[in-house]
């Protein structure tokens, strides 16, 4: 089983460019119906498949996403 990860999204920085959506190998991300204070549809997590690969955070132009991944020895 792959290691589990999780992300924290800073919705106020997000501009809804969707670049992270295509970078995610597990389709964890989608755009919200709601908008942030600047009027952008921000990115949200829609399932729990995240493995903490950080691809989304690495391509994000606005440094919106913080990534966590459980240690290899813990869990499972």
């Amino acid at each position: 089983m792959a290691r589990k990860g999780d992300i924290v999204i800073n919705i106020e920085r997000c501009k809804g460019c969707e670049v992270c959506l295509s970078a995610c190998p597990h389709e964890v991300l989608a755009l919200s119906k709601e908008v942030n204070s600047k009027g952008y549809h921000y990115v949200v997590k829609v399932n729990s498949e995240c493995t903490g690969c950080a691809n989304c955070a690495i391509v994000c132009p606005d440094a919106v996403i913080t990534v966590y991944r459980e240690k290899a020895t813990s869990g499972q």
């Binding site: 999780d6 391509v59 132009p61 440094a63 990534v67 966590y68 991944r69 459980e70």
Partner: protein
């Protein structure tokens, strides 16, 4: 392990670097400038040279770069960043000096400064963001605009018989004896971002050798100027920009 337990400091694998300020970037959604800023800041952070780095900001979309980097920054007149960086590096040879310039700044009004700084072999890093268009002023044709590419001043596409040919600055400076490391990268996909960051880190590290100018071109997108969504613009860039501006190292230091 429940998801709540995953979010803790010990499990942190990626966070915004402290070399970038908390100010929200003014760039359009999906613009490669943000990613390019971030990897440059991460490279400075990982080398531990935040206190010894001086950046020179250009004129163009990235004119406000000094708001986003938490290092000493200097604004230069349009196109003159390599000349300003030359002065800074000569007065303070122990510092790491970089310029961050777009194609309108570096390849148009600043062509002379760029070529001469590279030819003199100034020990600076030039980061060149090439999106083939003048983004800030409304998507006009730039020297780097592709043949046939539409812009607001070439609405029927760039006709090379009357408008000239696109300028490959990176290949041009690679021929000069003053350059030490010349490479072309992109930041639209995770693998490219990782490679571009490694290239920038290497280029910054080379500065302490005093062997010459390092030049890193980043082929980028301009969703607003190209009139596309960010995802479409990245696809268009892969299909059209990369065949003309092929990615990879152009000049690498001899071992």
């Amino acid at each position: 392990m429940s998801e709540n337990n995953i979010i803790c400091h010990d499990n942190l694998v990626y966070d915004k670097t402290r070399v970038m300020t908390d100010k929200v970037l003014h760039y359009c959604p999906g613009c490669g400038h943000g990613t390019a800023h971030r990897i440059l800041a991460e490279a400075i952070d990982e080398l531990g040279i935040q206190g010894e780095t001086i950046g020179v900001a250009p004129v163009g979309c990235s004119v406000l770069a000094y708001y986003y980097f938490d290092v000493d920054m200097q604004e230069a007149a349009h196109g003159r960043a390599p000349a300003v960086a030359t002065g800074i590096r000569r007065v303070m040879p122990e510092k790491y000096v970089f310029t961050y310039q777009g194609d309108g700044d570096l390849a148009a009004i600043g062509t002379a400064e760029t070529i001469h700084a590279c030819n003199r072999g100034e020990n600076i890093l030039i980061v060149f963001i090439n999106n083939g268009i003048y983004g800030m002023t409304g998507g006009q044709m730039a020297p780097t605009t592709l043949p046939g590419m539409k812009s607001s001043t070439s609405p029927r596409g760039r006709d090379t018989s009357t408008m000239g040919n696109p300028l490959k600055m990176t290949e041009l400076v690679a021929q000069l004896p003053g350059t030490y490391f010349v490479t072309r990268q992109a930041v639209h996909a995770p693998a490219n971002v990782r490679k571009a960051k490694r290239a920038i880190k290497k280029a910054l590290d080379y500065q302490k050798l005093n062997k010459g100018t390092c030049f890193v071109e980043i082929v980028s997108n301009c969703p607003s100027g190209w009139k596309m969504t960010p995802t479409q613009s990245n696809k268009w860039m892969e299909e059209n920009m990369f065949p003309f501006y092929p990615l990879g190292d152009i000049k690498v230091p001899e071992k």
